[in-house]
């Protein structure tokens, strides 16, 4: 899906409801503009379609410093048809970039798990680029809470 102005407004409102004070007052946060720009750079200007890629992340992260995320993309992973890369972004971090995963036909399956940092409640975005250049996207909101003692 494309990040339309309406999405951006809706997300902004959501962030205002769920956001909790980050510890870095004064820092600039990545905006949706930065995120959209990063997506467009990755896709070469193409708008990602929905489907084929699944992003798994906890609905509520126990601690924002270590949030497990997994991506999985439907693909035969043959020499002619495979997933080339998956871009992972966090639109509410100081910088939206998290990681870019590169697969090959030798990966066998386009699935990977890692752990990331989330500064506050926000959307995590994963964009897959296939060997034919087509692009797909999935998005999950992860709530990051400041605990009584854990946060």
């Amino acid at each position: 899906m494309k990040l339309t102005r309406r999405d951006a407004l809706a997300l902004g409102a959501g962030a205002a409801v769920f956001a909790v004070a980050g510890g870095r007052a004064g820092s600039a946060w990545a905006g949706l503009e930065d995120t959209e720009k990063a997506v467009m750079e990755f896709t070469g200007g193409a708008t990602p379609a929905s489907g084929r890629i699944t992003l798994d992340a906890p609905e509520i992260a126990e601690n924002g410093n270590t949030v497990p995320i997994s991506v999985s993309v439907e693909s035969p992973m043959t020499d002619d048809d495979y997933v080339a890369s998956v871009l992972i972004l966090a639109e509410g971090n100081p910088n939206p970039d998290v990681a870019t995963l590169h697969f090959t036909p030798m990966s066998g399956a386009a699935e990977a798990t890692t752990r990331m940092r989330l500064a506050k409640t926000q959307n995590v975005i994963a964009v897959a680029k296939m060997s034919d250049g087509s692009v797909f996207m999935d998005k999950k909101e992860v709530k990051v809470t400041i605990g009584g003692c854990g946060g």
Binding site: N63, N65, T145, G148, C149, G151
Partner: protein, 286 residues
């Protein structure tokens, strides 16, 4: 939640901006099996004197994702520190030219069960010792090396490694030795004494409100069978005395020095409360 707790939550909420949430949720009904092989005792019948029927590991109070990380010995980042501790165990340090291994050989044999019995009465010192104090004495006396400063990276790694040699064994504190009973009494008093601007004791959270939420945190019984524990917040090992100090600090009280009599007594009492739970070191917590 009874009236007393509601009153407490309201008072805290109004005066201090901290509140125990209305949501109560039971510890998760799950079984901790490491790598699908080793079952860990995370619930045990409480020993006489503990005000619960059953003592429950903090593992049951964590989210699915966090519990899964602990259940996979590879995914558990605490194991990195176990490996680092093994290196330290085998590394010569100090003027005597010795490593831990010079005297204690293979830790898997010599340290098996040792960590499960700490804190332990030390007759020479006339007080209970934990592994940190034990290791520092040996560094000074046997190795002629510098004692570790509190929470030095190597101290945390070595204690994690030694404690891990008792992985899966039940926590068992010997209260019959020396003056352990008196230290236990002192620790118990500390546990129930309210301190700080928030006027909270250990019992406020971990006894009266365990199972409730304090803001976003699901309060456990505060058992310490998993220490040193890998905390997601610090992305590092956290020692028991660091956690004690952190808890006391959070009540907005002046916190005692690590290994002070105050905290050693608390360690004796709190460790004893978890008697029968398996050593989980390195546990994974939020």
């Amino acid at each position: 939640m009874d009236i007393r707790k509601l009153g407490l939550a309201a008072a805290l909420g109004l005066t201090a901006g901290m509140a125990f949430g209305p949501a109560q949720s039971d510890p998760v009904d799950d079984t901790l099996v490491i790598d699908g092989e080793t079952e860990i005792t995370t619930r045990a019948k409480a020993v006489e004197g503990v005000p619960f029927d059953e003592v429950i590991s903090g593992w049951h109070y964590r989210t699915d994702e966090t519990r899964e990380v602990e259940a996979d010995s590879f995914a558990n980042p605490g194991m990195l520190y176990v490996e680092r501790g093994e290196e330290i165990w085998n590394t010569v340090d100090g003027a005597a030219g010795k490593s831990c291994a010079s005297c204690h050989d293979n830790a898997a044999e010599s340290m098996r069960g040792v960590g499960a019995e700490y804190p332990k009465w030390n007759a020479a010192a006339g007080k209970p010792y934990n592994l940190e104090l034990f290791i520092n004495d040996h560094r000074v006396e046997k190795m002629q090396a510098e004692p570790y400063k509190f929470d030095a990276a190597d101290q945390k790694a070595l204690v994690t490694f030694v404690k891990h040699q008792s992985f899966g064994m039940p926590v068992k504190v010997d209260l019959e030795a020396g003056d352990m009973k008196a230290w236990w009494e002192q620790g118990k008093e500390r546990y129930y004494t309210r301190t700080g601007q928030l006027n909270m004791s250990c019992a406020t959270c971990h006894e009266d409100n365990n199972g409730n939420y304090i803001r976003a945190d699901h309060l456990s019984q505060g058992n310490v069978n998993g220490f040193p524990t890998y905390r997601l917040k610090q992305s590092n090992m956290v020692s028991l005395h660091n956690r004690f100090r952190g808890c006391i600090r959070d009540t907005r009280a002046t916190y005692p020095a690590a290994f002070s009599d105050d905290l050693m007594a608390l360690e004796v009492y709190v460790t004893w409360r978890g008697t029968g739970l398996s050593v989980e070191t390195p546990a994974v917590r939020q």
